[in-house]
């Protein structure tokens, strides 16, 4: 779908909504779900580096993420999605 993007392609302060996470390790996938990375959750960068690493806000908490994780999260633009 053309509305789907990787988190690392989103701009700073642009509100996005998580569509799915692509993680091969099932345990890590489970941990990401428990932290709030499930479909429909709002996410945005508050600090973004060129490679996609930075700080994100997820469920009211600030997390630091690396470029590997930012490349594993598929998101929808905030105004195009339904929760």
């Amino acid at each position: 779908m053309e509305n789907q993007f990787l988190l690392k392609d989103c701009a700073k302060e642009e509100m996005c909504v998580v569509y799915r996470t692509e993680c091969q390790d099932i345990k890590k996938q489970k941990r990401l779900c428990e932290l709030g990375l499930v479909g429909g959750e709002k996410i945005k960068y508050i600090k973004k580096n060129k490679d996609g690493s930075g700080l994100i806000v997820l469920r009211g908490a600030v997390f630091s993420v690396d470029n590997t994780l930012a490349s594993s999260i598929v998101v929808l633009r905030g105004n195009l999605c339904k929760k």
Binding site: K28, R31, E34, L35, V38, G39, K47, L55, S64, D66
Partner: protein
């Protein structure tokens, strides 16, 4: 005694609450992974006696890292206990996930909303009604409303019911991730509804603060980190640390003289007098003289922990650590290594993968612990008085650079394609209270005294006896220590250390005793030289002393001490946490690297000064042999690993061929079995 268990997400204030309720001083810090084991202590309220248990932080009842397994196993084993789920008021949207999971599984549950005064609005009663369990707003740090929590615990004890806890384990074959995700979604939806009912609003702005913009800047953040570490060393080894250390040494020197004068009046046995003076008092009091510097170092590290700066450092260093086969999370353990290697190895439990834990534990000994601090301070006092802080800083940085070099080599040889994901919660920046800083300083002092009074005292007495008796158990006296038990062993080993510049028996005895505890190096030097604490530094520079150094050999000795094997306690910790193989690898690596680095340094500088070709050539040959051995070992590892991996899909091949020369190297074919990649 009713068991009360504190559970909650990491960094919500469980240990702080534990300390407040039990009036103890367990280590608490502002980062994920401080508590890695279960701590228990009893407390009384009214007529009730409780056993309070503090668990490592968990995000859910599904265990992921080994510290979480500890927590979940404990919960399962104590199903009928009263559970107090600590929630961070600033993060209720995520913390309530665990609370709802616990509510489904456990009957005796209380919610304690910590730091409740930091949020804009929050209705406690509405939360209680919405979740269906007792909820209390508290401030664990100040102890506010803790009395209400105790009342709630007493009430819950009266209503204690049988409950059951089912541990969730991830089994890859039967686990349906889609279903699990749906379950998480519905739970988060439930949490959002609860927050709506509670009229929950947080004060915390959801943006990077000004401090974070500086701390997390790619360039300025690293520069700031270097400045922070330099400041830590300056405080520890600079004018303040030296001043306090000199005063303490002077004080203990006076105390020693008074004590000896009094002992001479009541003890007339010369051996007993010598044993007490040189075996106990001199050995132990020498170490006590460095207490201020050790306490200052721990205070600085605790301050950095409490502020929340370490999480920022983890984020800054993650891209660089990935190249070394580590992640940003390893920063916590590595920085703890500056305090104590034993404790730092235990904190590797919060790392996700076994390989990551093994590597971090392997590299930890390169981070010079506080026990080596007295050795550095002593030798710098003798030879580098004006540049003490600089020399010590250079030593610490040498350790870090060597660690990076070794990590690079290990990473390149391992062909590791596994990409670790890094996701770490950023705690709020909080400045610790003066009370906490003083409490931590006193706690460090107490731990230090316990260590000195325990293992160091016994080791000091043992070293004295071994240095003054021969194998026939005849008393030799300190002047004839060369023929004593430990002197004879040192005589055999001395030629090995001669090329490093410190082949004297005394120096070797000090290094042997350092295997038990690094502080023993200083004690042993005091026993061998037979001088009190205040005169030890001068005696090391005096060529007539049994143990003496030149400036060059002192630096070589410092380099060797920096790198050589960690103490027995650290080795035992490595064995327990990551296994015997890693412990053996660590010992061999540290010894061989310490030897080669000291050898290369001493002989290169010596050659530059004296043009002593003989020794220099020998040194070059030994170094060349070491490098050849390392390269051969790494090549062998690389071939074995490469054979199993398909170049195309990077998956492991189940079959292997013995003849590696015929391996098919291009396209998507397995090297081993020559079958197509699926």
């Amino acid at each position: 005694m009713q068991k009360v268990i504190l559970v909650g997400n990491p960094n919500t204030g469980k240990t702080t609450l534990f300390n407040t309720l039990t009036h103890s001083n367990q280590h608490a810090g502002n980062w994920h992974g401080v508590t890695v084991d279960v701590k228990s202590k009893s407390f009384q309220y009214h007529k009730y006696q409780f056993e309070l248990c503090d668990l490592p932080g968990i995000y859910s009842l599904g265990a992921y890292s080994s510290e979480e397994k500890v927590a979940v196993d404990f919960i399962e084993a104590n199903k009928n206990a009263v559970f107090v789920c600590i929630l961070d008021a600033n993060n209720l949207a995520r913390n309530l996930f665990l609370a709802l999971e616990l509510k489904d599984k456990v009957k005796n549950l209380i919610l304690a909303v910590n730091m409740a005064k930091e949020i804009k609005s929050f209705d406690e009663n509405a939360l209680q009604q919405a979740v269906g369990v007792c909820a209390v707003g508290i401030d664990a740090r100040s102890g506010r409303s803790v009395k209400r929590l105790k009342e709630a615990i007493c009430e819950q004890c009266k209503l204690t019911k049988e409950s059951c806890v089912t541990k969730q384990t991830v089994e890859e074959s039967s686990f349906d991730i889609t279903q699990f995700e749906r379950k998480c979604k519905s739970r988060f939806a439930q949490v959002d509804k609860i927050l709506l009912d509670c009229k929950y609003r947080t004060k915390r702005p959801l943006g990077a603060s000004l401090l974070d913009k500086i701390f997390l800047h790619k360039v300025w953040g690293l520069f700031l980190f270097a400045c922070v570490m330099a400041a830590v060393f300056f405080i520890t080894f600079g004018p303040l640390g030296s001043f306090l250390s000199d005063k303490i040494c002077g004080g203990f020197g006076w105390l020693l003289n008074c004590l000896l004068s009094w002992l001479k009046t009541i003890i007339h046995n010369q051996f007993l007098l010598d044993f007490i003076q040189k075996g106990i008092l001199q050995g132990v009091l020498t170490i006590l003289g460095f207490m201020p510097q050790i306490i200052l170092l721990f205070m600085c590290l605790n301050f950095l922990e409490d502020v929340g700066y370490l999480s920022r450092v983890a984020y800054l260093f993650d891209p660089y650590f990935k190249k070394l086969g580590l992640t940003g999370r390893s920063v916590f353990s590595l920085i703890m290594g500056f305090g104590c290697t034993t404790t730092a190895v235990i904190t590797t439990r919060n790392l996700d993968s076994k390989k990551l834990r093994e590597r971090t534990a392997l590299y930890l000994p390169f981070f010079s612990c506080s026990a080596k601090l007295p050795i550095y301070a002593l030798i710098c006092s003798a030879f580098f008085v004006r540049f003490k802080a600089l020399v010590v800083f250079a030593l610490y940085m040498t350790g870090v650079l060597l660690m990076m070099l070794v990590a690079c080599i290990v990473q390149k040889s391992s062909k590791d394609n596994g990409k670790e994901i890094f996701m770490l919660e950023m705690p709020k920046i909080r400045f610790p209270s003066v009370r906490k800083v003083i409490k931590d300083a006193l706690s460090s002092a107490k731990d230090f005294f316990v260590r000195v009074g325990g293992i160091l005292l016994i080791s000091s007495m043992v070293i004295y006896l071994l240095y003054n008796f021969n194998f026939k158990l005849q008393y030799m006296g300190g002047d004839n220590g060369g023929n004593s038990i430990i002197g004879s062993i040192a005589k055999i080993l001395s030629p090995i250390f001669a090329p490093l510049g410190f082949g004297s028996q005394g120096a070797v005895i000090a290094l042997i005793s350092g295997i038990i505890a690094k502080e023993m190096v200083v004690s042993s030097l005091a026993i061998v030289n037979g001088v009190e604490a205040g005169l030890l530094a001068n005696s090391l520079a005096n060529s007539s002393s049994p143990v003496h150094f030149t400036t060059l050999s002192a630096l070589s000795f410092l380099l060797f001490v920096l790198i050589y094997t960690p103490c027995v306690s650290a080795c035992a910790s490595i064995r327990k946490e990551v296994g015997r193989k890693v412990m053996i690898k660590s010992i061999i690596l540290q010894y061989s690297l310490a030897y080669v680095v000291s050898l290369a340094f001493y002989n290169t500088i010596n050659f530059a000064i004296c043009e002593n070709w003989g020794f220099f050539t020998l040194c070059l040959i030994l170094i060349a042999l070491f490098v050849i051995c390392v390269v051969k070992y790494l090549k062998k590892r690389t071939i074995v690993q490469n054979t199993n991996v398909c170049n195309g899909c990077q998956r492991l091949c189940r079959q292997r061929e013995k003849d590696y020369g015929n391996a098919y190297t291009s396209g998507c074919r397995h090297q081993g079995c020559q079958t197509s990649c699926k």
